[in-house]
Symmetry: C2
Subunit: 205 residues, 2 copies
């Protein structure tokens, strides 16, 4: 990847473009075609793609295999799967336990945590479930990089602070809590209320 | 709200600031304090807030009640709750059925839909569940503005297109499908894979 810092909206568009191309059947794709499929302007798409390390011309459209490869490199530069854990095995956490969405992705969930030992002992999962007292030791020993936080309200901030302290790089936040974290930890807020508020704020403007 | 178009990152920060202030106990808050709590720079926060219709000075910090009110107006300018529906009553949809996160918010879920009539007949819910054949008529008769899309993969795009046709303003997309929609419909992509990819793309740069 080039060393220029990529603006957040460009990064988000390119991540979605990578997803779109994963099921795209043609050999080439033009910025105009991407505009039709996504609603982003062709000019914005060309600027975004110009920020990638792409060595193919675009006179008759981008070559899909090379574009896909450059987009994959944006998300993941290592060949090993990036390890994730789920924090909070309430109903939302349990849905994510069985989620097969990450199959064939650069990510793999390798552990689940809950402060309720009944849950960690009773729930079925393809990876080990632990009490949250073991958070620090398991994250370090497994080399876990990302956490999926579904813990219930009041616990969210204290768990997030502990995750930051053991070197987690990013948190997918399913709680409605606004997390206070050091700069070293990125957060993606995906709770339903935040999503609806973002939609609504856009529609009032 | 002022008539200038608000940049997307500003809108997202202000939405989260509104959430943060909903549990904030002090009477005033400075941009420096917001920086400590969120990690955004105080300068960015001041620029964001300057885009709101706010009639209070900021020499010793913003007055929290007035700031909260301006942030609420950003999300919702009407006093009635904005109506939402859930499309897809698979396990994720079922978790959202019982979600109390929207209690005390400007949003209310008033209907659920699934193409599997067993689900719509058997599942318990505080609002009516319908077969997806009734999507258009119920959305119009109820005046539903936002849809929460949790339908399984292949159905997602065709359901989204139907939602757009009956005048839905925005879709919270829990599927990993990249939706192709007219400009009139906003989308918030909140699937786990997109969230992890956004985190990871940020960390590679």
């Amino acid at each position: 990847m080039k060393t220029t810092v990529m603006p957040e909206p460009s990064k988000r568009r390119l991540v979605l473009l990578g997803r779109l191309l994963s099921t795209y059947k043609e050999k080439t794709i033009t910025s105009q075609k991407i505009q039709e499929l996504t609603g982003w302007t062709a000019a914005a798409i060309r600027r975004d793609i110009a920020m990638l390390d792409l060595h193919c011309g675009a006179s008759n459209g981008y070559k899909v295999p090379e574009l896909k490869e450059a987009l994959q490199a944006l998300v993941c530069t290592v060949s090993d799967k990036q390890k994730c854990c789920i924090i909070g095995l309430n109903r939302m956490g349990q849905v994510l336990l069985d989620n097969n969405e990450l199959y064939d992705s650069p990510f793999k969930i390798v552990a689940g945590f809950d402060s309720n030992v009944n849950r960690t002992e009773v729930l079925q999962s393809s990876f080990p479930l632990h009490p949250t007292t073991l958070l620090e030791s398991i994250i370090k020993s497994e080399g876990i990089q990302y956490a999926i936080l579904t813990a219930d309200g009041e616990e969210a901030q204290s768990l997030a602070a502990r995750l930051a302290q053991c070197g987690i790089k990013g948190i997918v936040n399913y709680t409605s809590c606004v997390l206070t974290l050091p700069k070293s930890v990125s957060v993606e807020n995906v709770c339903l209320l935040t999503a609806l508020e973002n939609l609504s704020a856009g529609n009032n403007s």
